[in-house]
Amino acid sequence: MTAEHGTTAEHLTTAGTLTTAEAAPAAVEVHDVHKWYGAHRVLDGVDLTVRPGEVTVILGPSGSGKSTLLRVINHLEKPERGYVSVNGELIGVRRNGDRLRELSERAILTQRSRIGFVFQNFNLFPHLTVLDNVAAAPVATGKLGKAQALILARQLLGRVGLADKADAYPRQLSGGQQQRVAIARALALRPGLILFDEPTSALDPELVGEVLTVIKDLAKSGTTLVIVTHEIGFAREVADRVVFIDGGRIVEQGPPAEVLDKPRHERTRDFLSRVL
């Protein structure tokens, strides 16, 4: 643990988060996580530590387990072995002596409401207006009254540049606009951590930019982000750390300048030569 912290801290001195990171627990800690479907191993012993405020980009070939890793973090998938904690709190389980027990569904939902999740296919609620999509979660989870939630929703829509689309229905918007609404919807719960699962993969090329701009703004605001993406250029620009994953294992990780420009592993070089 201490050795791992030491090495990560070195990278982070440039980002200037060293002092706070030393005191606070890790924003995300993934410990020896295994996940398999039948005989197929999707995650094969993944360890990952993300510091508060850090932007982590996960790269890897399709089928490498990167989306599954993301879904394990907010417990959309249960790991078969290992555990995940966010801000020092175990996710989906609690410690009982030296065993882990599953939490009640209600408790898991409360934990999830503190973690934003943005899907590849947006998954906006098509029967609700854009405004109601954003305002639904704070009201349903009892965090805000209806009126306050609507005010917050309008603010957030303004932040992603869609204040004028509040009364539209999701299917009346372009893909890029829908994804920006999905980001506003995730922000409505004021999460300290947001997970992005290939947020631009379902978009036409000319719409990718607008979504990446919103994510970049979030990165500057100090929210912890974990992003699965294929946009190498974006990773280079915004990531504090790049994690390359293949065959359900982390092959290598480090600042983008190292992993993207001087990859140490054959498989990383292979992957980068194919996508660049």
Binding site: N74, L76, E105, R106, L109, T110, Q111, R112, S113, R114, I115, F117, F119, N121, N123, L124, F125, P126, H127, L128, T129, A136, A137, A140, T141, Y169, P170, R171, Q172, R185, A186, L189
Partner: protein, 330 residues
């Protein structure tokens, strides 16, 4: 060697050949394309029109239908009383059947194998037994047990039915139809829930929305879009099935007409016409309600809402007028 050379020569010469015929030498000016004439369609239309006219003429002029007797019976108080019973039985059974169907569908989709098995068995049994058998069984059952109570088995009863004869017939009819309706509604509701994209469940779960909220506000409203047309189909079937309650001695619309027909044997045909027209009216009312319910639940599903029939009629009229004006100009 000479062959490829020949091919090369012909390729080189190709541009010098005259262009294909059929293109007028004069430059084509963009103009309206003459639509293809379809005489077969006109002939078929004429034949169908003649047949329809004959049918209408027969319906009006044939003394067999006795339209004057139809007029006599149509709004008779006995008939209207029967209609009221039909409406009552149909309405109670529709609501109870849908509620039962939702519970059965949820049980069928639950993770508990016991709930799934019970739901499956119920649907299997009630879809297999003819409605008339269910009704007659319940009828005899209720004759056997004068009071029917709901409560803990072998324990205290929460409430019990111990009504006068007519109310019991009504209860028997409603229970029988509801039991039957619930089995079909369960499949309609289950299909609707399955038609909602898995991503919707995931997004709602990822936002930490409570389970009840997810079902009531996210999944079910979207499921209703595909439930509505199927359930209305069921509902129309149900309205017509109410005519079976005659066999548990409840005088609904059909039962009244049947009884009156026995008393006035000469009026059987006009009485059947009265019943037919009332069922037509009920089905039409349900269809109109269906249209507006569907339109409501289509919000967000399509880019623009489907137009109402009135608006469709207006735009149709405007298009026709514009087309005639254009034709007149040409």
């Amino acid at each position: 060697m000479s062959e490829p050379q020949g091919a090369a020569v012909s390729l080189a010469e190709a541009p010098h050949q005259p262009p294909p015929t059929d293109v007028p030498s004069k430059q084509l000016t963009p103009q309206r394309v003459q639509p293809l004439r379809k005489p077969g369609r006109w002939i078929a239309t004429a034949v169908v029109l003649v047949l329809v006219a004959q049918a209408v003429h027969g319906l009006i002029s044939n003394p067999f239908y006795q339209w004057d007797r139809f007029g006599y019976w149509f709004l008779r108080p006995t008939i209207l009383d029967g209609l009221l019973i039909t409406l009552e039985v149909a309405a109670y059974s529709a609501v109870l059947g849908l509620l039962g169907g939702i519970l059965l569908a949820l049980a069928r989709l639950s993770k508990s194998p016991v709930l799934r098995a019970v739901s499956w068995t119920y649907v299997w049994a009630l879809r297999s037994i003819p409605l008339i058998v269910v009704l007659l069984f319940l009828y005899n059952f209720s004759a056997l047990y004068k009071t029917l109570s709901v409560g803990v088995p072998f324990g205290p009863a929460f409430f019990s039915f111990d009504e006068s004869r007519l109310a019991t017939d009504m209860v028997v009819a409603v229970i029988g139809l509801s039991l039957n309706e619930a089995a079909y509604a369960a499949e309609v509701v289950r299909g609707g829930i399955l038609s909602v994209d898995q991503g919707q469940h995931e997004a709602a779960t990822a936002l930490g929305l409570p389970k009840g909220y997810r079902f009531r506000r996210i999944v079910f409203p979207q499921a209703l879009r595909s439930i509505t047309p199927n359930y209305v189909n069921q509902l129309i079937g149900l309205i017509k099935s109410t005519s079976l309650v005659f066999y548990v001695s409840l005088l609904d619309l059909f039962g009244t007409a049947q009884t009156m027909g026995a008393t006035y044997p000469g009026d059987i045909v006009p009485l059947l016409l009265v019943v037919t027209v009332w069922y037509l009216i009920l089905t039409s009312v349900v269809s109109v309600i269906q249209f507006y319910v569907e339109r409501y639940y289509a919000r967000g599903a399509t880019r623009s809402r489907p137009p109402t029939p009135l608006r469709k009629f207006r735009t149709g009229l405007r298009d026709l007028r514009e087309r005639l004006r254009r034709e007149a100009a040409v």
